[in-house]
């Protein structure tokens, strides 16, 4: 969109709501999109929302080649929790997470989207590829691995702890100190707006329920390519964890990113895109060839 004289402009991102049943339960899901071409479906981190992808959604080098879609999981951002949400303890499971991504993809009529996920979503993309490789054009996982211990904590629900400030501070520790401060603070801000217990419930998936160890070889990268990247400042999912997973998945690619932490697409997008653009180019070329 052309800027005006005073610098104001309307971004090309459009947001809408999707009514979709997930595991036979009606959900109202918010999603944003920009661009045209093969779909790049973006999944946010634990306890956050799709705002983390605003830089990518505004990158013309990406949107010239891809329809980029980012959605808020139910319970996150502008997606509501389901009816009677107060009658359950929110704990995201692997089955529920996979069902959610598949249901949203189907409801939007997506055909073999490339899935990009970070943190817990960087891990779930592995399960998506393992369970139904032909459904996806490829998966790119950031800050994900076969097993990530230690992130599930009970203190976010403790009444004497202000989770609105502690959860974002806890996660801010995972960023590279050289990443731009404004970007790091924006991530903190998004985390401060998560619902009570949602970060905790998401990390139940990330650190408790999900464990791909011993099953990595079941991923068929000939049908669904896998590319994994982790920043060197990430001390939740270390680069070594990711590299071990890459080594255990025949045909998987990727590695570590220097000067980046746990939130590559939002903590330092200008640096991250140098890793992302070649991976996207490879995947869309390969999928076009296969088609």
């Amino acid at each position: 969109m052309k800027p005006t004289d005073n610098g104001s402009r309307i971004e090309p991102i459009v947001g809408r709501y999707l009514q979709v049943a997930i595991d036979n339960e009606p959900q109202r899901v918010y999603f944003e999109e920009a661009g045209q071409g093969p779909t790049l479906l973006c999944l946010h981190t634990a306890g956050a929302d799709s705002r983390q992808y605003r830089h990518l959604l505004n990158d013309p080098e990406v949107t010239a080649h891809h329809r980029v879609i980012a959605f808020d999981l139910p319970w996150h951002g502008r997606s509501s929790p389901p009816d009677s949400w107060w009658q359950e303890e929110y704990l995201l499971t692997t089955d529920r997470y996979v069902a959610t991504v598949e249901a949203v993809s189907d409801a939007l009529g997506l055909r073999r989207p490339i899935v990009l996920g970070c943190s817990m979503a960087g891990s779930v993309v592995l399960e998506l590829a393992r369970r139904d490789p032909d459904r996806w054009g490829g998966v790119i996982g950031l800050s994900g691995a076969a097993k990530i211990p230690g992130r599930f904590q009970d203190w976010p629900m403790a009444p004497d702890i202000n989770a609105q400030q502690v959860v974002p501070s806890w996660t801010s520790s995972l960023m590279a100190p050289a990443s731009p401060e404004a970007a790091r603070r924006e991530i903190w801000w998004i985390y401060s707006q998560g619902g009570p217990g949602i970060y905790r419930g998401d990390t139940y998936f990330y650190s408790q329920d999900f464990d791909l160890r011993g099953h990595e070889h079941e991923i068929d990268t000939a049908r669904c390519p896998v590319h994994l990247l982790t920043g060197e400042y990430d001390h939740a999912c270390t680069p070594e964890m990711t590299e071990e997973t890459i080594a255990a998945i025949p045909g998987a690619t990727g590695g570590r990113m220097t000067e980046i932490g746990h939130f590559p697409m939002s903590e330092n997008y200008p640096l991250f895109r140098h890793h992302l653009l070649p991976a996207l180019r490879t995947m869309r070329t390969r999928d076009r060839t296969n088609a």
Partner: protein, 146 residues
């Protein structure tokens, strides 16, 4: 809460936590708007320990003080955090450009065998925002040999 003094009083000097550096650190914290805002709701004693060297700072009502020389951490303090590390661990943290997995207290606690939160884990979580801020200011503070 134990007795307090303005920085640079009769405190014992140490190589790892030089008095001049502590003076600079506390002055920088006092001048920091984010610290002053958060500190209004904070009552906390923070201990940095390295072998025999130990400094105790008290944060109360938006102000930060060093406890006088000879004062010890008081277990009766309701919010007491003791961070204990080797000289190498502290040196890796208190630098403007820390290496991966040495960039803050949580990273060191998880990945550095020579660093530990020896008391006050719950207090650390409760006061995490201000502790990380204080340590970030400390890392940027001049006055330590690097």
């Amino acid at each position: 809460m134990g007795s307090i003094a303005t920085p640079g009083g009769a405190a014992v000097d140490s190589v790892i936590f030089p008095n001049s550096w502590i003076d600079n650190w506390l002055a920088a914290a006092t001048a920091d708007q984010e610290f002053r805002t958060l500190g209004r709701w904070t009552t906390l004693s923070l201990v940095l320990r390295c072998a025999e060297a130990e400094i105790i700072v008290d944060i109360d009502g938006g102000r930060i003080y060093r406890r006088v020389s000879g004062a010890a951490a008081d277990p009766a303090d309701t919010e007491l955090i003791i961070l204990d590390g080797s000289a190498a661990a502290w040196a890796s943290l208190l630098t403007p450009k820390p290496a991966p997995r040495h960039n803050d207290v949580l990273a060191l606690d998880r990945h550095h065998s020579e660093f530990d939160v020896v008391a006050g884990r719950t207090s650390l979580i409760r006061h995490l925002r201000i502790v990380l801020l204080l340590m970030s200011i400390a890392a940027q503070t001049e006055g330590r040999s690097r």
